[in-house]
């Protein structure tokens, strides 16, 4: 009986997924979805899933009500139907809010952008296997014999056979009564991937730029999370100096110093050295900036750091450059000139929110 409605329900979910995919670009470029994030789900308003009919349009909010009050008095909005509402009476034009899990969302995005699945490296030695005794079985070594279960079995058998004498309660287990502990090997995934976000928070990064970074890192996060269990994320902000911060701080801080990108790269390199051994960890580093570095010397230092330490250590190093009215945007050119064909360094320019999708694709299409 239940299976029927579940089929219809599944079909409905499929349609919802289809709708999300169609409108993914719009959802992605809008920041409001992130704030809707629950623990593991996102709810998305979906107004157009209704069936269109010839219906009356806006009747200027008119209607009939009951109660006290003088003409002109505001009336409070009533809450829905009364307690014993009969089903199926709603003819309304309420926007349907659908909930999807982040995993589902990542899958949709993966399909839509054609993102390849990521092959993790060094994962074997990080997946620890733990044995747990979970049940009983009929065969096993005597050392694992479960005495109580065996006794119970034997008792049951003897009672059934009529050979049990309460006055002389002797229980003799036979071969079939024996029970042994059995175990299950449970792979215990350990986090073996880390994203290190770096953001330029110097004076030239405005709110809109930060919003773009915020949205983009949400989606990158969502995708990578669906690929690794127990993903860690770290956040580094920098102007002329860099420091590691909490997630909330990362998105809200606004400093106003100059910009020395090398400070962040140095911090990142330290972090990797201290905590994340590249042979065991999948390291993703993303740096967002408006590309306005302090000096040529500093840029040279950055390139050196990238070449010697960061790129060899990470699965991928992404540099996203948001456009700012103040910046020269020189840094991305310098990087491209310096690294040219280097596969592990991905650069992307994000001019407006509409470019976020393409930028994400740029970053993640390599499947590394």
């Amino acid at each position: 009986m239940i299976s029927r409605i579940e089929k219809d329900h599944r079909r409905f979910r499929e349609i919802v997924r289809g709708r999300i995919r169609e409108n993914l670009r719009r959802y992605v470029s809008r920041g409001d979805m992130i704030s809707r994030k629950g623990k593991e789900t996102v709810s998305i308003p979906m107004p157009q899933i209704d069936i269109p009919r010839f219906v009356h349009g806006d009747n200027k909010g008119q209607g009939v009500g009951q109660g006290e009050g003088e003409p002109g008095d505001p009336i409070s909005e009533g809450e829905g139907e009364p307690g014993a509402g009969k089903a199926g009476e709603g003819e309304g034009d309420k926007a349907v809010e659908v909930e999807v899990t982040l995993d589902e969302l990542a899958a949709i995005m993966g399909e839509e952008l054609g993102l390849p699945r990521i092959e993790p490296r060094g994962s074997q030695n990080l997946e620890t296997v733990k044995d747990r005794y979970v049940g009983l079985r009929t065969t096993g070594p005597e050392s694992l014999r479960h005495f109580k279960a065996t006794f119970k079995r034997a008792l049951r058998r003897q009672i059934a056979m009529g050979t049990y004498d309460p006055k002389r309660p002797i229980i003799v287990p036979v071969r079939e009564d024996r029970r042994y502990r059995s175990w299950k090997s449970e792979p215990k995934p350990q986090s073996n991937a880390v994203i290190i976000y770096m953001m330029d928070v110097s004076g030239s990064m405005g709110d809109e730029q930060k919003e773009i970074v915020r949205i983009e890192s949400f989606w990158i996060d969502t995708w990578l999370r669906s690929q690794y269990k127990g993903l860690e994320s770290r956040y580094i902000i920098h102007d002329a100096t860099a420091r590691e911060v909490e997630r909330e701080v990362f998105f809200s801080t606004r400093e106003s110093g100059g910009t020395m990108i090398s400070s962040a790269y140095r911090k990142c390199a330290e972090l990797v050295e201290r905590e994340f051994d590249p042979s065991n960890w999948n390291i993703y580093a993303f740096h967002f900036s408006d590309g306005d570095n302090w000096s040529v010397d500093d840029t040279a230092a950055c390139i050196r750091l990238l070449r010697d330490t960061l790129i060899p250590a990470s699965n991928q190093f992404g540099y996203g450059q948001v456009e700012s009215p103040y910046g020269s945007g020189q840094f991305i050119k310098d990087l491209r000139a310096a690294f040219g064909e280097e596969e592990l360094l991905v650069t992307s320019e994000i001019k407006t929110k509409d470019d976020i999708m393409d930028s994400i694709r740029e970053f993640l299409k390599g499947g590394r």
Binding site: I5, R11, P52, V55, N59, K60, Q66, G83, G88
Partner: protein, 502 residues
């Protein structure tokens, strides 16, 4: 299906006795106890255990499960119009609640059986629905799920375009007769006398003959038109005239049949719920209630008739109207003398001791629907006593405000909301519009415009069935317009004048 637990079966017998003693007459009623998931499922299927597969039911289920889980609403009872009548009780409801629900259900069952708007419904619709489901599934097996499902989407988008009065008309011949050119009779009078042919000009003056010919031609034109006169049963019309594959015709027929089946429930929402509420209140307070159940009952019952200020509760307004009618007919507050009396004191004290109340409300539940119910019994006094008002949206604050307490305005607004159960009047006007096989619909404008975005999408869907351009005449912002969809784009053109039903 599980049998009813002992204590509920006893309860059923008890309440059934009370209901019969009060004169309620109902089909055999079968109760089933279901858990809340099943309740949501059944409610999503509009009360039936089996419906054809469609995502819309899944969506309803999703919505109801959510609002149930979050405690926003709870479905107490569900009863369907069949013979025997099936009613569902929610597992885990308290005994008082189950009593209340049962008493309520007998009100509905009695209403289903006796209200004349239900007289044409198929009482074995459980089988009907199951058959429909089987047929749709078979089409899906043959045509593919997507093809059938998207066709059902199209049909749903048109399923409010039916004629509420159709079940009460004489059935028309299912097929129209082969079109034979009608000979034109001009009514020429022959004198039968060749000698006096000179008189012909006087007996049959040319202007007269010309006029006759014109009229006959018009009539022939009219007959040739499809449909001969504007028709509201668009679904039925499409079944006859649209180029449908056999399976499409079958699916469309199913949707139409179900739309007609559910129609009376939408026509009698206030009356039906009011009647059931009247009876649960009566049965409970006079017979079924035990002393220690009073508080629980009072709470449940007040939940049923709770009012939100900007929303009419059909349970509340319905039950109040029945009680008002009962009192008026008990005291004789009706008829010419009553209507003409305008002495306040006299009216207040009016009591002829007729005691016709009970028989009157039984008569009302038999003969009326929501529109006629409100039209006839929503009186000035009733309106005042129950503190009705009209409200309107304040554009600046976006809030709803009380607009007035003018009786006429309140009643007009109410009736407008109920007429055609709040749906626009849409007619099929011409199946050969512009002599190009285009379909022309018309909207009888009653003061409220169509919702344009929806109208466009509906036209798109209609075009998929008709396979030729489709148009609808309507009025937008007081200007007559024609919206047309030709398969690729929507055009909105001005019309010289607004369309009227001739």
């Amino acid at each position: 299906m599980a049998t009813l637990p002992q204590h509920l079966a006893e309860l059923q017998a008890e309440i059934e006795t009370y209901a019969s003693e009060y004169g309620l007459d109902f089909f055999t009623t079968i109760y089933e106890v279901v858990d809340y998931r099943q309740m949501c499922e059944i409610a999503a299927y509009e009360g039936f255990p089996v419906r054809y597969p469609h995502w819309r039911f899944g969506m309803e289920y999703d919505r109801m499960m959510k609002s149930q889980t979050y405690g926003l609403s709870k479905i107490y009872e569900l009863v369907i119009n069949t013979d025997p009548c099936y009613a569902y009780l929610l597992e885990g409801n308290s005994l008082v609640d189950q009593k209340l629900v049962m008493s309520h259900v007998y009100g509905h069952c009695d209403f289903f059986k006796h209200n004349r708007f239900f007289s044409h419904t198929d009482r074995r619709m459980i089988d009907g629905m199951a058959n429909h489901a089987t047929r749709v599934r078979r089409h899906m097996d043959r045509q593919g799920v997507d093809a059938v499902e998207s066709f059902i989407d199209v049909c749903h988008s048109l399923d409010n375009l039916i004629d509420p009065w159709l079940p009460f008309r004489k059935p028309k011949p299912a097929r129209r007769e082969p079109s034979i050119e009608m000979p034109i009779h001009v009514g020429r009078i022959t004198s039968g006398d060749h000698e006096r042919s000179y008189l012909d000009e006087y007996i049959n003056p040319p202007e007269f003959i010309e006029e006759q010919r014109k009229r006959a031609e018009e009539e022939r034109e009219q007959r040739r038109k499809i449909p001969p006169r504007p028709e509201r049963d668009l679904l039925g019309f499409l079944l006859l005239h649209a180029p449908l594959e056999p399976w499409e015709a079958d699916v469309l027929g199913i949707i139409r049949e179900e739309a007609y089946y559910f129609l009376p429930q939408r026509q009698t929402k206030i009356m039906n719920e009011g009647w059931a509420t009247y009876w649960h209140s009566k049965l409970m307070t006079t017979r079924a209630l035990r002393d220690d159940e009073l508080i629980d009952y009072a709470e449940a019952a007040s939940g049923v008739t709770a009012m939100a200020p900007n929303q009419l509760n059909p349970y509340k307004i319905g039950v109040e109207l029945y009680r008002d009618i009962e009192e008026r007919w008990n005291k004789g507050k009706f008829g010419k003398q009553w209507d003409e009396c305008d002495d306040r004191q006299l009216r207040d004290d009016w009591d002829l001791g007729l005691n016709l109340g009970q028989s009157k409300i039984f008569e009302v539940r038999r003969l009326y629907n929501d529109v006629t119910f409100i039209d006839e019994f929503f009186t000035l006094e009733f309106c005042r006593r129950n503190r009705f008002f009209t409200f309107t949206e304040n554009r600046r604050s976006g809030r709803h405000e009380i607009e007035s307490r003018d009786f006429k305005k309140i009643k007009d607004t109410l009736l407008q909301q109920l007429t055609n159960f709040g749906q626009p009047f849409i007619y099929v006007v011409d199946a050969n519009y512009l002599n190009r096989g285009e379909l022309l619909l018309a909207h009888r404008h009653e003061g409220v415009d169509l919702r344009l975005g929806y109208a466009r999408d509906t036209l798109r869907n209609l075009e998929r069935i008709w396979r030729r351009p489709v148009s609808i005449l309507t009025t937008v912002d007081d200007k007559p317009k024609r919206i047309r969809f030709d398969g690729t784009e929507i055009q909105i053109a001005d019309e010289p004048e607004a369309w009227r039903v001739s």
